[in-house]
Symmetry: C2
Subunit: 205 residues, 2 copies
C-alpha cells in the first residue's frame, strides 16, 4: 500500500481520483481485472483520466493505445471502450501513449508518459527506461512517486483522428477458407490469413 | 431476453453456465463490460468455457485470440487473461477462434466456430457468414439458437503452442526517439515505429 507520510517531503498531494473511481476503488479494479496494481496500469489510469477530463462532458469517444503493455487495461477499467467492442484499438508502436477522441468528429487528446519530465522522479525514470533490473526496483517508492507526480510527468497533445481510421471497420464479405474450412474476411485473399503464414501453434495428435 | 419456451421445439437445453458464472451473471458482465450482449460475446463465452473445461484443474493458462471482434471480451470476462497483462494475445487472422494453453508446457485447446456445423442453425449461419444485412437479422432468435446449440457448433482441436511464442516477450532495451522524444523499444530501429510511418492522427494547432 501507499505510505502517504513518506511523500510529504516533496510537498505534493497524491492522486485522489481516477475518473469516477476513488484511488482505492481504481486499485481494487486493477487488482481484480489486470491481476495486480502494476506501475503501468497506475500511470495509465492517470493518463486516461487526464484525457477524459479534457473531452467535453458527454462526448462519445474511441481510444487508440500505442502499446500493448498495461495501458489498455487502464482504458478498459476506466472507460466503456474494450478491445472486443472495437472502441479501443491498439496500434503497437511500443510508445506509452493513449488517445481519446470524439468518435464522430475525430477531435481529442493524446497523452504520453514523457521521458523529458522524469528528472525529478528517479524511480519512475529507472522503471520506464529500464535503467535497472526489475528485481532491483523499489516498487513501493515507484508507486508513491507515480501517485505524487500525477499528470506532471505526462505531455498532452490535442489531436485530430482522420476520418478513414474512424469509419473503415467493416470486415466486408465473409468466405470459408478452402484449406482450414473456417470463416474469414474475403478481402484477406483466396485463403485466410491463418493459412497464409506459419502459426505459433500446431495441432496435436 | 431469451425465451426458453420458444426453444423447446428443438428439444434441447439452453447453456446454463459460463465458467464460474450462471448464464444471467455472464450476460450482466457482458452488458457492463462489452456494452451489450452481442451474439459474438455470447458464442465467445461458450467457446472459452469449452476450452477451460478441458484444461486440467488449476492450469495456469494463456490465451490466443484469432480475431479482434467480440471474442477477446469473452476471454477478459471469463478468465484472468487481459490484453494489458499480456496473458491474452490477439493474432488478428479474422478467424473466430480462441486457444487456451498451459503457459509453461504449451499444451492446450483451440476452439473455433465451425461453418460446417451451422446447417441446422439458420440464424447463426446467416449472422456468422453475413448472409443478410444486420438490420434484417432476428436477434432474439439468433441468441436463442446460440444458447441452444451451445458447443455443438464449435470444433475443438488439441494444440501445442511453440516455446518461442510463449517466452519471447521482453521489450529489451528502451531508447528515446530522436524525432518524437518518446520512449520505445530499441529493437524497433533508430527511430520509433510511430515515427516510421504515417499516423492515423495529426496534432492540432
Amino acid at each position: 500500500m501507499i505510505n502517504q507520510q513518506s511523500c510529504s517531503s516533496i510537498n505534493s498531494q497524491l492522486v485522489e481520483r481516477f475518473g469516477s473511481f476513488t484511488r482505492e476503488e481504481f486499485m481494487d479494479r486493477a487488482k481484480s481485472f489486470h491481476g495486480c496494481i502494476s506501475p503501468g496500469v497506475l500511470v495509465g489510469g492517470i493518463m486516461v483520466d487526464s484525457a477524459m477530463e479534457l473531452l467535453p462532458q458527454g462526448t462519445l469517444f474511441d481510444v487508440i493505445c500505442e502499446t500493448r503493455s498495461c495501458l489498455p487495461d487502464a482504458v478498459q477499467i476506466l472507460t466503456p471502450c474494450t478491445i472486443g467492442n472495437g472502441w479501443l484499438r491498439i496500434l503497437d508502436f511500443g510508445r506509452y501513449a493513449v488517445s481519446l477522441y470524439d468518435k464522430h468528429q475525430g477531435d481529442g487528446f493524446r497523452v504520453f508518459l514523457d521521458p523529458a519530465k522524469l528528472d525529478h522522479w528517479d524511480e519512475i525514470k529507472t522503471w520506464f527506461l529500464k535503467l535497472k533490473l526489475k528485481h532491483d526496483q523499489d516498487n513501493v517508492r515507484l508507486k508513491e512517486q507515480i501517485l505524487t507526480a500525477g499528470k506532471e510527468i505526462c505531455t498532452i497533445q490535442p489531436i485530430h483522428v482522420k476520418s478513414g481510421f474512424r469509419t473503415n471497420r467493416s470486415k466486408g464479405i465473409i468466405n470459408v477458407c478452402s484449406i482450414c474450412g473456417e470463416a474469414y474476411p474475403a478481402k484477406d485473399g483466396l485463403i485466410c490469413l491463418g493459412c497464409q503464414q506459419e502459426l505459433p501453434f500446431r495441432i496435436r495428435n
